[in-house]
Symmetry: D2
Subunit: 391 residues, 4 copies
């Protein structure tokens, strides 16, 4: 490994940039998680998360990764052989589909174009066809981290309503929550999967699950085995005791500070900042794309994500060689391609506690690596990002 | 809440006292968990944990609490309706038994006396009676945190061998690992459950599972649904990618430092220190017990734990009122009684990064609270602890 | 060095115990010390320090140790050959006297008994004899750290007033400020020396100087060379620019948090806590002193300090061997004897962010070391401290 | 103040960017500064600083700012009325000259052009004229922080030698040490002033002074008053007790880590990195300068500093309005003009733990501010910096 100097630019799509004050909130000696002090913090976090999820309902919290929250979404609400429909969006929809199958559900994939996003009409058509309402849950990745595509949840909700379908709407918001607009209650989301390490600016290690009353009712009757993820059991406990076993207390202090951090700026302010910085990234990519070897992976320009941009690279190096050069030469970390996209694209994460010079520094490192590696690209990418944010 | 001043004395049986250098190792900004740097750390941690577990086999690591590692122990190795035998020891054996049942196993409880520990003869007798070897796994809590009793694993292993029984030996070492002697391979343990927040001196949030080749073979054929906990899948990945989803990287840096911390002192040195400090606690309790209202919960003096001591209190206050007074008056946190022991005992945790004055300060706070609350007790508890450790 | 385990008990009379929240306030990356953000913090600190000093006048702050603030007290207010009277109290009065001489002042020592404290009558007599008011300044160590004796400043002020003497009253409050009552304006103090590392709970590295208008007037005309310590120059600058050169910004964030910490408890509450904990220490020493080899250094019981207790030890080991044993065996740090007291006494610091179990742990470590080293001592020292604080 | 989000880019010429590992070394609870542990650290730091200064002689360390180290350089080696020659370079030479005068020295200013640097011939001529060797010391600012000009010390030494003049050579290396080549012994420097907060990557609060045997000999006979800064006294103490009063221990742990950090990269590697990054900054400024309103302050291109670049701005905004916009809009902090340069230039600090994307982000923020404020400037500044560092 080359000797790294200077601050690392973490431009992967999560875990993401964490401000010092949140790191300090996380950095505390272990404490008595049964104390009234912790009970207060746990309640504050619960109430704050509801504001971030834009819901009046319960949020469940586990020591787990986001995959754990997915598993909680599968294990709590369905009995074996019940049908769920997972909408194809990319690597994360693939894995969620697979997980549903492993839990014995009849997991159907609604085909979709990874570069275009979920088609509301296709969803509506499939649901209309399900006249017997065999589909019990619909799984949608709000912001597909592997492709940088943000689906239009409001439109998808409308499609479900248009079909008059009663299935639970399950949404993975892992890379959108706290970075892009999400409205659990208004958009009729029943089961909402979140994680700690992206817009909430924590270490990796917490899974979150928002649950509507409609979903809760199903949880009472679902028959699959579960204990760690069982929300029925958690509901009987006060907020600070809902986690199975010892509470991962440091995360609660971190979340409390993160919620304060977000609300100081207002959620709308946070979303606007992410939108501006993402647009600057897109302006750069648009210039580079004029050289032939670089392009947006997502073709549907309206649905390009404000938290991550996937950039296709067609030579003369593969995307991993490109990323590693950027890392080794400039201490800038980019995300790679997942599954069949391995080696074909790199992903620029632009979420969390981010500002203009962090984005410019990242883009400049990419531009310098394009030069070093001889990747054909249009000039002026960084210039365009400067011009946009100066405007 | 009264205003707390001075350092909190965390005398609960976990999470436990963490030295600054481990806290600092944990306190780092998020990083790229797919990088070669993290791969190196993950491999170091894997190899170090094997030395701590005293095994040559794989240790699996999850973002979870210890309950998650229990669930991994249940979910990976058994198919529905298979029989497991859980040995009764206290609250944690109850919960493990319940979990096995919830996963559809035929979970049998081997009755045991919470104050005496598991009787090797009783275990041997039950296993001899299982002539058809229907019992596929035996679950033992090494150190029962709820009672402060450490079972004699070597003797229990001998009992299993004497019965010639092939069942997997599952051991919960959550509150013994890194504090008291444990030898996975020598004692023929097949599935070993551990957590981050006790002898390993981390925040809460990691579950660990040591797995023998014999257990691994069963995992191939077990049919229960699992994805998050599935070790088969993890085994196909390099060490730093074995966790489902994003790796909780900060914990790996913490663990690396913890292993170094333990090995500087040597594991035997760590165990000897815990034994000495625990004996000092016991000397104090022995004096207090002469007053009538205070006593050891564990009657089998040979099996009193070196990481936690449970103290029965029979009036004039219940154990929770006692604990809260100690907390509010002196900023010393004690553990409470669990399940049917609620209100009847308090538990003194004495594990992790602990030294003599920390123990004395804790004991003095208890003695002062005994005085304040008018709990009849023999005098000289702290004096006895001083005399012992001065010797 | 033996391998230290567990938290260090820092029972030296400064630097002292710092709570995590102050350590975290200190732990920040460097920042622009000319920014409005820092200007706000510097002003808050100035106003808060005035409340802690109980003054309406300016406090000057240097990157320096307490010795630097002493030097500022000498360099700013006197011209060469002017007379100052330093009251003998112990090692710190010796050093201050020497410093005054090195700066060319006519430094007179008012003899005093280190074990009894400054006699107000002797001070009054000396000042009455100075009919020509040649004495321009009187230097008093409020709390003599080397002996653990706190002089009665109100009585000494009365003595000066009774003599009708106009000299500046210079007071060293390094080990009293923020731990014991001190009232700059009410007690007519003109030049007040403080430091960061004791009651203000910071790292070592800041010298403080409170200055009355009367002292300020003298500063205008004093002719000695000075630049770093020159308060005239500082006065022309806004608060955040008063330090010569770059501001040591991290300390200002630490001080801001420390002032908040003190004011949450109220200064009176802080003083009462120190008084209680100091009395517990004295109860223990009183018991130990019954054995013959241990005694209070300060004979004037009314003037024993609430921030530090000096304990004389007359064998069979010298006080340094005793201290080092306590440090190496139990990770408890005690202060040693200074100047002619070297090897003859150890000092127990009991100031800063301190609570009962920290005191008990320290006392128990001392008691255990008394046993180990065979120092004759009365039994029951820790018991007495427990009984007192339980009452 | 606008709400700051994302990491602050600290592009002032000190205090500077500090890596996490050094911040963590600084972040420790107070400890016993008389302990053998601290003695070891203090000795390691002493020996390491000698390697950084490239000297075999003593380095003295104070709790002070860099101004304190200047004062130590003045107070220790000269008696009142002795002549010293300070070479004019900018704001810092002005202040040093003033300080010498305030200490009663006969302080002569060797006139120099702030934009060209000290002329070795002029120095030689002045020294040749001093046939009586009345000049006892020559003060040179190695790297003038206020202008971004690095004087050619080797050439200046040669000039002194050519004149055969025996005066002490005093050098201020505050903003060069640890960033640009400096060789105390080889270049015959007698008194070397340094500070903690620039190339040594610490908080502000330590002054350093390297002293040659020749200077030490003068210190024995200098008659000015001094105590805090007195190196004669320090020399009698072991390294960890050399600081007057309580040692600022946290800084020693920070310095130990900083020295390790520098030596991992090698000093030559550190200097080369600074040179590359500085050249990138200069490439950008060179492009901007084509627009008419922006220019290098330093006209002598060979002497432009590798730690700070001063940029003249001639409208339509003054340099402070420019800096504040850059700070408020982009969280990038630039340095301002000092003394008569106030409002006329901004300074880009590029030293400490710095890498390419940090530089690019800073330059992009400047370029965006040039656009926002309508400052005429040539395009392509950031592009040029990217192209240079990609090369």
């Amino acid at each position: 490994m080359p000797l790294a100097r200077g601050r690392q630019f973490l431009a992967i799509p999560g875990p993401t940039n964490v401000p010092l004050r949140i790191l300090q909130a996380l950095d505390r000696p272990p404490m008595d998680f049964t104390s009234p002090e912790f009970a207060d913090v746990a309640e504050e976090v619960q109430m704050g998360l509801r504001r971030v999820f834009k819901t009046e309902h319960d949020i469940f919290i586990w020591a787990s990764t986001g995959h754990g929250a997915w598993e909680a979404a599968i294990a709590n609400f369905y009995s074996p052989d019940e049908k769920v429909l997972i909408c194809e969006t990319g690597a994360f929809s693939e894995w969620w589909l697979e997980m549903a199958g492993l839990f014995g559900l009849d997991a159907e994939y609604l085909p979709g174009d990874w570069r275009m996003g979920i088609d509301p009409a296709a969803l509506e058509a499939r649901l209309r066809a399900d006249t017997g309402h065999e589909i019990k849950g619909i799984g949608i990745v709000h912001n597909e981290t592997s492709t940088g595509l943000c689906n239009d949840l409001a439109a998808l909700r409308k499609a479900i309503d248009a079909a008059g379908h009663p299935a639970l709407l399950m949404v993975d918001t892992i890379s959108s929550l706290g970075s892009m607009d999400f409205r659990m209650d208004e958009w009729g989301c029943d089961v909402v999967v979140g994680g700690s390490q992206k817009g909430l600016m924590q270490h990796t290690g917490l899974g979150l699950l928002g649950v509507s009353p409609k979903a809760l009712a199903r949880a009472e009757n679902a028959t699959g085995p579960r204990r760690y993820w069982d929300i029925r059991r958690s509901l009987q406990m006060p907020f600070h005791m809902r986690n199975p076993g010892t509470a991962p207390a440091h995360f609660f202090y971190g979340l409390k500070e993160a919620i304060k951090f977000l609300e100081e700026e207002t959620l709308d302010g946070v979303f606007a900042r992410h939108a501006r910085l993402a647009e600057a990234v897109r302006r750069a990519v648009a210039e580079w794309s004029k050289g032939g070897a670089i392009d947006f992976y997502v073709k549907n320009a309206d649905r390009r994500s404000n938290s991550v941009t996937a950039v296709e690279i067609t030579g003369p190096v593969d995307s991993d060689a490109f990323r590693f050069a950027c890392r080794d030469d400039f201490n800038v970390m980019l995300g790679g391609g997942l599954l069949q996209l391995g080696g074909k694209l790199f992903r620029i994460g632009h979420l969390g506690d981010l500002n203009e010079p962090m984005v410019w520094g990242t883009l400049a490192a990419i531009e310098a690596t394009l030069k070093r590696k001889g990747v054909p690209h249009g000039p002026g990418g960084v210039d365009a990002a400067i011009a946009y944010l100066a405007g």
